[in-house]
Symmetry: C2
Subunit: 216 residues, 2 copies
């Protein structure tokens, strides 16, 4: 089973937020932005921001901060978001179609070229302009398309089976929105996205606040 260890994971996870703020400053006509300003916006320590940004290779100038144009380019290049990346969607349900239509991902170079679904009623239709094809043809189609990335939003009962078909078809990166821990060969990377985890956190925080105010 593949174990991916990315040392700077928390830093990488913060880069999109930095990019968002820096692009906003760029639109507002600024040429430089300081680590302190970014830190304030995101409620982080300035030293953390500087450390995080240093993984992209960029270094700020004393008193001026980071040149915005170069900073945008450095973050985008580090994330490989400065090129187009084709992907397929597997499972054209609610979440899958929402992700396909999610404008922000387009800005990051994500280009969904085909969707696959088991439901004969969906096959032949489109979601946000993306054609929905039959799951039966997934291996052949993905291979023909030469796509390497897949977004997996199928029910958990067919998650592993879909992943197996994707791997056979040459997929090397799976964005996994199912709650199944996928078993994949070492050359395949999987990013698991668990929306229930976030909801669990929210529920526990809400209870803690209730207890706090009861204790107060």
């Amino acid at each position: 089973m593949a174990k991916q260890k990315i040392v700077a994971a928390p830093s990488i996870r913060r880069l999109p937020s930095y990019l968002h703020i820096v692009r906003q400053a760029q639109r507002d006509g600024f040429e430089y932005i300081s680590g302190t300003v970014i830190a304030q916006e995101l409620n982080l320590e300035p030293i953390q921001v500087r450390k995080d940004l240093s993984i992209t290779g960029i270094i700020g100038k004393p008193k001026k901060g980071y040149p915005i144009h170069a900073l945008v380019a450095a973050i985008e290049h580090f994330l490989d978001w400065d090129s187009i990346r084709d992907a397929v969607l597997v499972g054209a349900g609610n979440l899958g179609s929402a992700l396909t239509g999610y404008q922000e991902f387009h800005f990051h170079g994500l280009n969904v070229v085909a969707a696959f679904d088991r439901d004969p009623k969906k096959v032949g239709t489109t979601v946000h302009g993306v054609p929905v094809l039959s799951m039966d043809t997934i291996e052949l189609q993905v291979r023909n398309l030469g796509v390497r990335m897949a977004i997996l939003t199928v029910p958990f009962s067919s998650a592993q089976e879909s992943a197996d078909a994707l791997v056979r078809a040459g997929i090397t990166a799976i964005w996994n929105f199912t709650n199944v821990k996928l078993k994949v060969p070492d050359h395949v990377v999987v990013q698991k996205e668990d929306l229930s985890s976030g909801y669990a956190m929210l529920c526990v925080m809400l209870q803690s606040k209730k207890l706090e105010s009861r204790d107060a």
Copy 2:
């Protein structure tokens, strides 16, 4: 600005995965499940699983493991998922409607009672059976509904303004799917969900793998 520190955050984030596996074992007719079996399913260390589960107050029996019925109840009770929690959706776009229709959240007690949107064409319609109301009426309606939780899926430009209205209306928990760091009073908890972060991780892992295979 509210700073929420939940000590056991990583443990809490894993609880939904545990719950998923334990419920599956329950459906399969088992009465006990061991920490080792759960660990194997999730590619974790058994000691980690036992530590995580201990925050719910449950303790396994030597050689037998955890009584499944009690374990499900303990996790659900800890997460407050054993009661119904009403929420409103703010922003009835693609992502918002996908979340409203996401079956898994219903199992966790999340009950979306109303959605709000700026778009006059959406107001008066329903998403997955939930009525879409006008953003202009949000404060009054949320107060009347007595709802405490909101799912925020508006564009980033109106995120803070929407959050302000929600807080005025008595909302104390915001599940924030926008990429804005919301400023809220101390009594309000916010869980930020950043889908771009996961996508950033996937892109970086994919590049690392490419480099690895080139170096090999």
